[in-house]
């Protein structure tokens, strides 16, 4: 039992890592979009747990809320909306280039891994205090991020909000019945 206690962090990490990868593979291999989406959701939650391990509590929470809550619901909603089953039956779920593409992906992965091995490896770890500290006072991760986000990164923050707005408008335009090929005057100001 000692082993479990002493190496708790490692064991936790490896468990989470394996589960994350398993979830990712699930996204790849499940034929049904619903299953894939659930697998993806699972991955998101595992990644969120990994965030917690890395002392990024706020990010963990945001991950669960935005991805797990928002984006995932959006996905499932769209899947239901287009009702995949009623569409023309899918004869193949892999694209024609699949073998080559897999090779390409693995190749790139191996090469990057090599870059890692031959480059400077990022060993060591911080203790996370700095992630809770602003101006010498230890105030917690959420506050710290808030403090930085609304001061140093204020301008990017604002720009991103505009991006979100534009995306929203775009999504609405696409979603309208008359969307696509026959936009006549409409859509511009909605």
């Amino acid at each position: 039992m000692d082993f479990l206690v002493v190496n708790f962090a490692e064991i936790l990490f490896y468990c989470l890592a394996v589960l994350t990868v398993a979830g990712g593979i699930g996204v790849l291999v499940f034929k049904s979009p619903v299953h894939a989406a659930l697998s993806l959701l699972f991955t998101f939650v595992m990644v969120a747990a990994l965030f917690l391990l890395l002392h990024a509590e706020l990010l963990g929470a945001v991950q669960v809320l935005v991805y797990g809550g928002g984006i995932m619901v959006l996905f499932l909603f769209v899947i239901m909306l287009v009702n995949v089953k009623t569409l023309a039956p899918e004869q193949a779920f892999l694209s024609r280039l699949a073998p080559l593409a897999v090779v390409a992906g693995v190749l790139l992965g191996v090469l990057i891994a090599f870059a890692l091995i031959f480059g400077v490896l990022v060993s060591g770890h911080g203790d996370g205090t700095a992630l809770r500290t602003v101006g010498g006072a230890e105030i917690g991760n959420t506050e710290a991020i808030g403090a930085v986000l609304y001061t140093t990164y204020l301008v990017p923050f604002e720009i991103v909000s505009v991006v979100l707005l534009v995306a929203m408008i775009g999504a609405i335009v696409f979603g309208r019945r008359s969307a696509g090929l026959e936009i006549e005057g409409g859509g511009g100001e909605s």
């Binding site: 935005v66 991760n141 995306a167």
Partner: protein, 100 residues
């Protein structure tokens, strides 16, 4: 001892899985999901480095990435709906109107 390398490698694996997903799946929806997977891999990387370097910038950047990912998901799913209306399919390779 688990150090940043482990996280980076995990993130690399996740990223490649997403990348392969983007390239091999025909279903547009799953392709988008794979894309989300890649975003997640990037976030993991950012946060791992933020932890390693004790720098909040990584986390802030991750927040931006999440925001952009949300925007991307919204647009992408909108596109899917448009595609379904237009062609009655979610297969990505059917979307070839622009083909030369």
């Amino acid at each position: 001892m688990i150090d940043a390398t482990h996280y980076v490698v995990l993130s690399l694996i996740l990223f490649c899985l997403g990348l392969i997903g983007v390239m091999v799946r025909r279903n547009f929806i799953t392709v988008l999901m794979s894309l989300e997977l890649m975003f997640n891999a990037v976030n993991l990387n950012l946060i791992a480095f933020s932890f390693r370097l004790s720098d909040l910038a990584g986390q802030v950047l991750a927040i931006f990435v999440i925001t952009v990912a949300a925007a991307e998901a919204a647009i992408g799913l909108g596109l899917i709906i448009a595609l379904v209306r237009l062609k009655d399919t979610v297969a990505l390779d059917e979307a070839d109107v622009m083909r030369g």
